[in-house]
């Protein structure tokens, strides 16, 4: 008997003497035994309890061994249970057919103890390895699902919708977890809305871990005056306006924090961070290495914002440049990650800016509808090719008076 946990072996044979011989051999090896006289009974047992190996006779009344094998291989669960075909030495054709139908091995009816032990133990060992592999994979899958759920909680549940404005977002990860992030949040003491879009380099778990860090730092530092109950705008004295101070402090502290604490990881992020005053339509922003967001006017004009700085997380002490724009009634700001423009079709060509801009010539029904249109077009373009990067967009639309 091996050191491994005993297995449960199902013996299927219409001859009682054969069943008894095999049962004796199996018990001697330290395993437990279930028995069936025909195929129908065998399938009933297989469906009712956990079996690790089937010793299967071929010629049986009611349902023969081949039918059992075929049924097992069609079944998602039963197909993983190894089967050893039992045959007389003169029935090699049946053995071959059994192997073709998915049996692991065969045993002659002479039941030589050495052969019997070797084949039964080899098949049970394979089954144990397969079970462990399945267990490990299921564990990994569960961990990834937990990671995915936790990561999604770093994206906002709902977006601010100030009167006269629409804010919508679209997020589509290439893997279970993503490096892209977006955010929109009220800065209550400022009565302004922070709008964020970023893309941490790479994909998967590493990017996802850093995504949570970048996103949290930006939101926390932008809200610093709320958290520590001081007034940043007062602290700014008269040298800089409060909105610019908030944006600059948020990106500067985030950049320096990552550079000083995580330099070894070589992880950085693109970042668009705008602070919108919904009363006036003015937005101050910084754009660190992020694809320039677009302003779509109600007349169909497209204007690109500036790239103000390199990506954050690689150059400590860098001074972030702050710009301003005005969103007029009917204007929409669209920020997107390179998962849109660098989506590949099956021929290996990229979606590119020109295909994106071609979608933006038509009047926009709503911010959400605009994002749906772009996402659907990119999806159609990718066709059968895999999504190679995370796809994230955020749109901020100022309604016209008649809306």
């Amino acid at each position: 008997m091996s050191d491994a946990k005993p297995g449960c072996v199902l013996i299927v044979d219409d001859h009682k003497t054969n069943r008894m011989k095999m049962a004796f051999g199996i018990k001697n090896l330290g395993h437990t035994v279930e028995m069936a006289e025909n195929g129908r009974q065998a399938l009933e047992i297989l469906r009712a309890q956990a079996i690790d190996l089937v010793l299967l006779d071929i010629v049986m009344p009611e349902m023969d061994g081949f039918q059992v094998l075929e049924t097992m291989k069609r079944d998602k669960v039963l197909r993983n249970i190894p089967v050893i075909v039992i045959s007389a030495e003169t029935e090699m054709e049946q053995v071959v057919k059994g192997i073709e139908l998915g049996a692991e091995d065969y045993l002659p009816k002479s039941f030589d103890p050495v052969l019997f032990k070797a084949r039964v133990e080899a098949c049970l060992e394979k089954k144990r390895l397969r079970d462990n592999e399945q267990l490990y994979l299921r564990g990994l899958e569960r961990e990834l699902q937990i990671g995915q759920r936790i990561q999604r909680s770093f994206l906002p549940d709902s977006l601010p919708q100030p009167p006269g404005w629409e804010i919508a977002a679209h997020f589509q990860a290439a893997k279970e977890v993503a490096g892209d992030f977006y955010d929109a949040f009220w800065l209550s003491r400022q009565e302004k809305i922070g709008v964020v879009l970023g893309d941490v380099c790479g994909k998967g778990v590493g990017a996802a871990l850093f995504m949570t860090l970048f996103r949290s730092l930006i939101r926390a530092v932008a809200n610093l005056d709320d958290f520590i109950h001081t007034d940043l705008s007062a602290a700014a004295a008269n040298s800089l306006e409060p909105e610019a101070v908030v944006v600059e402090k948020a990106v500067t502290l985030t950049n320096n924090y990552i550079c000083h604490n995580h330099q070894q990881a070589n992880m950085f992020s693109t970042l668009f961070f705008g602070l919108l005053d919904p009363m006036t339509g003015r937005m101050v922003y910084t754009n660190a290495g992020q694809e320039p967001p677009l302003i779509l006017s109600s007349k169909g004009d497209i204007h690109r914002l500036d790239i103000t700085n390199p990506v954050i997380g690689i150059i400590p002490g860098i001074k972030f440049n702050i710009r301003e724009i005005w969103l007029h009634p009917g204007d929409t700001l669209l920020a997107y990650t390179d998962g849109i423009t660098e989506a590949f079709n099956p021929e290996g060509q990229m979606f590119s800016e020109h295909r994106l801009e071609a979608l933006l010539n038509k009047p926009i029904a709503s911010a959400a509808a605009l994002l749906e249109l772009i996402a659907a077009s990119v999806d159609t373009y990718m066709g059968s090719s895999n999504q190679s990067d995370d796809i994230t967009m955020i749109a901020v639309r100022r309604l016209t008076d008649c809306n």
Partner: protein, 137 residues
């Protein structure tokens, strides 16, 4: 549709010995670690000046940028603290480009990736192989 990255290495003699990586394919999530690993091997074998020939690289994702940053740090690792400080100041005022890592002939798309991310602030981009090799000193 990604094309796998192939790296061939040659040694050139300019003012100093320069290791040239001729890259063919995409530098993306599936290949950036290989590029980092090869650069590390070359560095450990004594190469201090590295030119990446990007002529045949069609696409470089942010993972590729990560590899460039990693190699940039690797080649700077031996610099004294004073030099490191100078370098950081130089990057901030735009006067510093890495003397150890340079790029040759990036495609229009790759160049755009480099400029959008700001990597061209500290990496020299050359269009002539001989001039690129001779620029290391």
């Amino acid at each position: 549709m990604a094309s796998p990255l192939k790296i061939t290495v040659s040694q050139e003699q300019g003012q100093v010995p320069v290791t040239v990586f001729h890259l063919v394919g995409d530098i993306d999530n599936s290949s950036y670690e290989e590029l980092q690993a090869q650069a590390k091997s070359a560095y450990q074998a004594g190469s201090h000046y590295l030119l990446l020939d990007l002529t045949k690289v069609k696409y470089m994702s942010s993972a590729g940028l990560r590899a460039l940053h990693n190699i940039f740090d690797l080649l700077n690792a031996g610099a004294s603290e004073e030099t490191q400080k100078k370098m950081k100041r130089g990057i901030l005022d735009g006067s510093y480009k890495s003397p150890y890592l340079k790029l040759l002939n990036p495609s229009r798309d790759v160049k755009r990736t480099l400029s959008t991310s700001g990597f061209d602030m500290f990496l020299e981009i050359h269009t002539n192989a001989k001039a690129a090799v001779n620029s290391f000193n």
